[in-house]
Amino acid sequence: MSDLPPDQTASRGASAQEASASVDMAADLPVAAKASITGPIPAAPPTGTGFGPTPGFGPAPGAPVFEFKRHRWLPSIVVASIIAAVVLGGVGLDNVIAAPSAGLVTVGGSVTINAAPGWILASPPGDTSGGIELEKATALLTTQVVSSSYGGDSASMLSDQEKSLSGNSAQISYGGAHRASVGGHDTSYVAFEAAVPSRQRSGIVDGELVCMVVNGSAVVIVAAAPQGDFDPIVNDVAAMLKSVGAGH
């Protein structure tokens, strides 16, 4: 008795007569099964495994040959160039293009402030005795000379301005006040967060209230931006504060 039954896969329709034309290699097969065997009998499956054909996967691929395809270089370079143009080109162009700036602006006839790049006058230049408004994107910086013959210090001026600002805002909270010399001028400043009426945004703004004494002039500067937009302008505000000086 053999462990292997005859391979019948190629014997469809073979008659017993045809089977007599057997192949020697199939000597241990039944006569009816010897008909059209043309190759070696496949090995028996391992004991204990299921029967039936295995799924028809294709032949195993050969070992991959590492070879750069030259005709593929150009499209890849084009794609890389497009991505670089969008990302690096944008960053580079942004650095090259100078931001518009209001430049040196005189406030109230006695004080000047140099607007940082990107900061422009919110209203057309004209009478600046009531102060000026500079804007950049969603941020706003107002500068006002409240007195041209001020005898006090910046800290007391800040205290007065805090009260004034609180009276104009429904909700406002202040951080701790600081006093320093900025550009050689006595300066006091405080950060605040306020709720202001607004139709589309949350209505919360972050800001900084700055009071300076510049050659006897009391200068009040308020920088504000919608919450989340203040951090990007901090450096600009610091630069503009340092640029404050006495006018002609």
Binding site: P5, P53, V87, K136, R199, I204
Partner: protein
């Protein structure tokens, strides 16, 4: 035997790997993935400081993304794309495109505010910069995937699938950043869940259908049109591709623009309701979604035609019938076919029909990848299909309730025009209630091959009959003992169901439904369920 598919049919059967070190585009993908991945990790690390909001955000976007990805995957009815390629598309959108876009958007917005005005940039920057930067970066992902494995782009449908997957990845990561920003914008940020859920309702529930999946689905379709319609001539290719890409970019422009914001206004001054957001999204996005639906429909019809071309010339009519090809043309048609079978043969019949449909799709994949109708893989697939059919027709019919009154005229018309029940799935053996006492099957398509077993030991079906295997195509001889020196005692007809009882080497002892036992070549038996 050669030339299995009709000329002009696309090759479906050769799924390629994403890992193609010989392709420069593969290394470009890896390089940009490394850069994007580094930026992505930094961003996520920063966001995870709001841990509750961050985890909730990811849970919500994944709850949205998983079903959407399945829908996109299943819309590709015939030649489904390799999953690794699809994953690469999602990763490109979520990791590479979002990270690069964040930097590029900021730079181009700044440029816009310089060359125009800050006010203009604030109002229109999102509508001008966003689509330009983001659609370019996302589409480049589709192009890179094409450059890595161009053979996977067989038709317009493939462009839609890869584009939509890139868009899905992008929208997932972008949504997470929006959710976290909403939390960060609240003073104190004590409640991390509320702002996330509110933003989820607005961005996903209100406008989830009209986002980046739609935009990049359109642009990807355009790109695929260009690279797959080579026979159409350059002007036609440029026109078709340009129109689709323009539609995708336009959809993004309209979506980001401040147009129609009056819909969101409220008289009380409170924020817009979810219904207002849904209306706002529908007005701005629905026309483009309909356009994409029409394009996908045309692409599916094209794939159906290609499927017909591939399976044309099959000599065995039981592999797939014309009606079955029609039933494969849409998810709806496939479900209808399964439901129809379920009505006749129950839930098991529905499942078997689903397996039959999958096997028929797989048959086309194999057929497309071979030049020979005698390919062993093709034979194996034919066998699989026949086995499923055999199982299907062996299922008993469900009892049908008798109508209380006579049928309506419409019912009579349906009955009169319906094909016989056996037409859709020619039975390999008779239904259980009609099974003759012998094992003789009724292979209606090859009646000449029908042979009967010797007289059975018992004419009655054994209780608890649970066949494990079926006889393969062409039938097989059987012996009364596992001895090759003996002559076969019978020739079992194909698709006859058997119970495997014992094994001796490669011999298998089997039993028929009527109690007959014998020995066969176990290697040839087809397990039930194939």
């Amino acid at each position: 035997m050669t030339a299995s598919a009709e000329p002009g049919a696309e090759r479906w059967g050769r799924q390629a790997s994403l890992i193609q070190p010989q392709q420069p585009a593969f290394w470009l993908y890896c390089l940009l993935l490394a850069v994007g991945g580094w930026l992505f990790a930094q961003e996520q690390s920063l966001m995870s400081s709001l841990m509750t909001a961050w985890l909730l955000s990811w849970a919500l976007v994944l709850a949205y993304a998983v079903p959407v990805s399945l829908v996109i995957y299943r819309l590709d009815l015939f030649e489904r794309e390799p999953r690794l390629m699809l994953a690469a598309a999602v990763v490109w959108g979520g990791v590479v495109a979002t990270s690069l876009a964040a930097h590029a958007n900021e730079a181009w917005l700044s440029i816009l505010s310089k060359v125009a005005s800050p006010d203009f940039a604030t109002q229109w920057g999102a509508a001008i910069v966003g689509p330009g930067v983001e659609e370019t970066l996302k589409l480049m992902g589709v192009v890179i995937l094409y450059l890595i494995v161009s053979s996977e782009f067989d038709g317009v449908m493939d462009g839609f699938v890869y584009g939509a997957m890139v868009g899905l990845g992008f929208t997932v990561v972008e949504d997470v950043s929006y959710f976290i920003n909403a939390v960060a914008a609240v003073p104190g940020a004590v409640d991390q869940s509320g702002p996330v859920l509110d933003t989820f309702l607005i961005r996903v529930v209100g406008g989830g259908l009209y986002g980046h999946v739609l935009f990049t689905g359109l642009t990807g379709t355009g790109f695929a049109f260009f690279v797959t319609h080579r026979a159409g001539g350059m002007p036609k290719r440029l026109l078709g591709a340009g129109a689709c890409i323009a539609a995708g970019v336009s959809a993004h422009v309209v979506w980001n623009s401040p147009w129609m914001e009056s819909i969101l206004q409220t008289s009380s001054g409170a924020g817009p309701s979810v219904f207002q957001w849904i209306e706002y999204g529908a007005v701005k996005g629905l026309p483009f979604l309909i356009l994409l639906g029409v394009l996908v429909l045309f692409a599916t019809r094209s794939e159906e035609a290609n499927y017909r071309s591939i399976v044309a010339g099959e000599l065995d009519p039981t592999v797939i019938t014309d009606d079955e090809i029609r039933s494969l043309r849409s998810l709806w048609a496939r479900r209808s076919a399964r439901t129809a079978t379920e009505r006749l043969r129950g839930r098991a019949g529905s499942k078997l029909t689903g397996r039959l449909q999958a096997a028929q799709i797989e048959y086309a994949m194999i057929r497309s990848g071979t030049d020979s109708l005698a390919d062993p893989a093709l034979d194996a697939q034919r066998l699989k299909i026949r086995s499923i059919r055999a199982e299907l027709v062996a299922l008993p019919f469900l009892p049908r309730p008798m109508p209380k009154a006579g049928p309506a005229a419409s019912d009579l018309r349906t009955i009169a025009t319906a094909p016989p029940l056996s037409a859709a799935y020619p039975p390999a053996v008779a239904p259980a209630e009609a099974t003759p006492p012998t094992l003789g099957p009724r292979a209606v398509w090859t009646p000449a091959q029908v042979e009967h077993l010797p007289a059975p030991a018992s004419a009655f079906t054994a209780p608890g009959w649970a066949p494990t295997h079926v006889v393969p195509a062409g039938g097989m001889p059987a012996w009364d003992a596992p001895d090759p020196a003996r002559r076969p005692v019978a020739h079992l007809s194909e698709r006859v169901e058997l119970v495997f009882m014992a094994q001796a080497g490669a011999w298998a002892q089997v039993r028929g439904v009527n109690g007959w036992t014998g020995w066969v070549d176990g290697r040839l038996l087809v397990p039930r369920g194939w």
